[in-house]
């Protein structure tokens, strides 16, 4: 049953991903990362015994918890990477805004015309 649910979920996510990329709502570079996540979760869905083996090796008494813990860790890492990306974008945006303001100021000085409205 869990295998079927994992397969349905993975397939639905894959279709959603294709649709988002097709509609230009998701950049292709992010699509690659999500595709990898979907393939991995699909593989694990079809072979749940992998978690049993990992849990035994790591000394985890209840194997499904390991899957949940790994999923949470992956989401935290993803959130952190997103924040790093947002930080870089924020800096780029700030410097662009500064550049625009400085250029508008120089133009106004040269032409006597007020800057364009936003």
């Amino acid at each position: 049953m869990i295998t079927l649910l994992s397969a349905v979920f993975g397939l639905s996510l894959a279709l959603l991903l294709l649709m988002l990329v097709r509609r230009d709502q998701l950049h292709v570079s992010y699509g690659l990362g999500w595709t990898s996540a979907i393939v991995l979760s699909a593989l694990l869905g079809f072979a749940p015994s992998i978690f049993d083996a990992m849990a035994e090796t790591l000394g985890v008494s209840y194997a499904p918890v390991l899957g949940i813990a790994i999923a949470i860790a992956a989401l935290i890492i993803k959130a952190l990477l997103t924040d790093i990306e947002v930080s870089k974008m924020r800096v780029r945006q700030q410097r662009l805004v500064q550049k625009v303001a400085l250029l508008e100021s120089e133009l106004e000085e040269l032409t006597g015309r007020a800057p364009l409205d936003d």
Binding site: Q98, S105, D118
Partner: protein, 228 residues
Amino acid sequence: MKHGAIIMPALNEEATIVTLLDGVRQTTDLPVWLIDDGSSDRTASLAAERGAHVVSLPVRLGAWGATQTGIRKALNHSLDYVVTMDADGQHDPEDITALAEPVMRGKCDVVIGSATARGSRLRRWAWRLMRLTSGLQCEDLTSGFRVMNHKALAVLAGPRASYLDYQDVGVLLLLEREGLSLLEVPVAMPPRSDGKSRIFSSWLAVMYYMFHTLLLGASKRKRPWNSS
């Protein structure tokens, strides 16, 4: 002859800007560059009427973002030094000469106009905490009344400085890490004319600022922890 300018970030300061610019004009011939951070009042037009060169930001960036805009302009114009001062009347133009002197003589790279007598006991306690976490030795960590030479401008115009939200601990640590010398000169700083801080508009804003600054100080600290 060294070329300089006064950089003045401003947000809704129509109540003080005219008096301030008149005071600056009586004291120095330095050009004033007012960086208007999206004022909704007549700050920009009043400043322009008083002879300031106004740069209007299309998106509000905050006091440090506005100051950095002026610094980038100064670097672009190959200036030797800049004076940064607030537009709320807290900084006395008559102190400009005393502040600029050590930089002009090459004694240091940055001068900070220090007024530790201002503010409440809570502010002084906050400064102490900031010094403990950052390892900075300055007494007045939050003064925006500074003079900076070309070397300092080059450091603060760069992308690393664009990661900063405020002009105090992060900026001072960045200057220190780049090996620049800082000097404090005492100045008088009267209370803000309208009594309202633009940055510390609520207790939530103050708490965010403290957490932000302490984390920044601890993460970018240059001095070893046992040297505080």
